[in-house]
Symmetry: C2
Amino acid sequence: MYRTRVQSRSSGRPTRDDVARQANISGATVSRVLSGRLDLSISPDTRAKVLEAAKELGYIPNSAARALTSGKTGIVGFWVSLEYSRYRAHVLDYMRTLLRGTDVAMAVSDVDEEYNFLHTFDRALRVPVDGIIAFDNSASISAFAREYDRLAPSIPFVSMGAYWSELKSYVGVDLRQGADRAMQHLLDLGHKQIAYVAPWTSDLIDSGPRYDAYENAMAQAGLPLRTVAIERVTFQHVKVAMIELVRTKSLPKALLCMNDETAIWSAQALSDQGVKIGQDIAIVGFDGIDETAACPVPITTVRQPIEEMCSEAWRILKAQMADSSAPPQQVVLVPTLVVRESTRGTSAD
Amino acid sequence: MYRTRVQSRSSGRPTRDDVARQANISGATVSRVLSGRLDLSISPDTRAKVLEAAKELGYIPNSAARALTSGKTGIVGFWVSLEYSRYRAHVLDYMRTLLRGTDVAMAVSDVDEEYNFLHTFDRALRVPVDGIIAFDNSASISAFAREYDRLAPSIPFVSMGAYWSELKSYVGVDLRQGADRAMQHLLDLGHKQIAYVAPWTSDLIDSGPRYDAYENAMAQAGLPLRTVAIERVTFQHVKVAMIELVRTKSLPKALLCMNDETAIWSAQALSDQGVKIGQDIAIVGFDGIDETAACPVPITTVRQPIEEMCSEAWRILKAQMADSSAPPQQVVLVPTLVVRESTRGTSAD
DNA sequence: TTGTATGCGTTATCAG
DNA sequence: CTGATAACGCATACAA
């Protein structure tokens, strides 16, 4: 039997037509067989021939070519900041379990980096995707949503998390409401000396939904504002700040921490200083990472609805991918206040 | 002036030729201008025209088409398990800072999922990349390396981390040597009752470099082996195991934990039971995540050389991408034993 | 059921 | 310096 073994020159990889030659049929038929489509009728015989030839040659479709002609890539982009954070890592973890059951591949792009350093989405946009889910990037998300029609007018896009743009589809998490509840909880406990803890480098120190809720609640209650700025969210920096509070005898009776790490480390640092968590001081965190439950004194936190957020975002993205002319869908989720020991036994003053 | 505004039908996005029409020049010239290449000479005038037209139309080159003809994508794939782990998240973080300075985009693919669930690399391979760095997947990495010549014969590939395949380029981390040092440390302290702690679900419970080192050192010292199996690496499960040890009064004098999380949680659970860490018991972890230093009693750990590992892998990948016929480069790094309080004051028996 | 032919949006070669 | 034009590898409308 005559067999052509010449493979295409450029990539060194066998192409569709190599398979076709090997199987003695046309390239189109190879495409049909390998397309996996059931509405195409192919004789069992040729199907077998194609499959065998493809296997023998180790044929893998060229994704670029496929994307070029079909306009589809089978990839969804997940845009997120890869800067280390437990919460983000958990979201990433959940997102992957969600997409595992589907037939799309997930490509994670570090987008905050992209935007903050270069003010362009060039790199992230380089990855050819059928749709984009963007998570929790205040600046970059709104920038992208604004330029969307210019940058990627045809790519379904949904943002999720605490920041979103009204312009496109999103699954928002209303941190403001979560923070309101947390403040209400502290106020109900009778607290008056409540401080807000956040890194001063972020724009969160005196703005954003958490701070707004804090400021508003304090103002309503006629209480004075108090901000504790930490250098960055690391144990060392949080510790420095806490030690300073104790040293200067200016420790508040309650701390509203901008995230769980800050809360956990504050608790630990204070505990080391002899401060009794949940007794001498109340502590509240944000996000609801598992570790808050595992602390010596479990910490009250405003839990983000990770599962629901991801599921909804994926549901919406699927809908948009199925019909990209469909109107944007917008849903807002509310985080849950999880009350634990760190605010339970507190004696108010 | 006559202007054609018809845009290409399929994607809704303007194409190179739309720009060409707009600027009244040929498509080829548009390509040249936008290629960014300096060795091509173009009159300042036409360059300006092209740039303006491109800007006005909001033209973005189609990455699939570009990849198809050039054979390059400007993307490197980072293959890693996205299952939550602090160590992995740290590696991810460092990798992004490394690639931030370059002009390649990083696309992260969840590869453990890919291989373990489907036994194929179809999804990960779908993302068109110029090179691949694979991190810490024992099963999937060796499977891929084995099938490499069939699956992606032309894509530069380097694996890094504790598992690698001799077949391709890699930056290995010799956990065995790190574990040897840890065991030596414990033995030097005079310990005799040393147990190895790992999840029984993993294949790490009685194999792998950590366990091998443990087994070997114990055998050399003529000491009996002891394994503490935990259900999974979560605080709850570790706690259950530790409580059981205390309850049955069978607590060893030293624990070699398969990772830092396990070590931290063991320490915490035992501490809650009144066991004095670093005194009643010695604890050693693996990986070297920051949290080990921030524990009430800082924990001794075998620190992975994240920075060096990533840098080396990237250096090698770059070399392979520049010349894909270059021979594989293989380097092995040795982790560092970081001694802290958790093993310092221990009284041996 | 299968083959032929065309086009997808670029890059790159080769003339002009 | 610039314009045709031939790949690139594949999907699909149209024929057979």
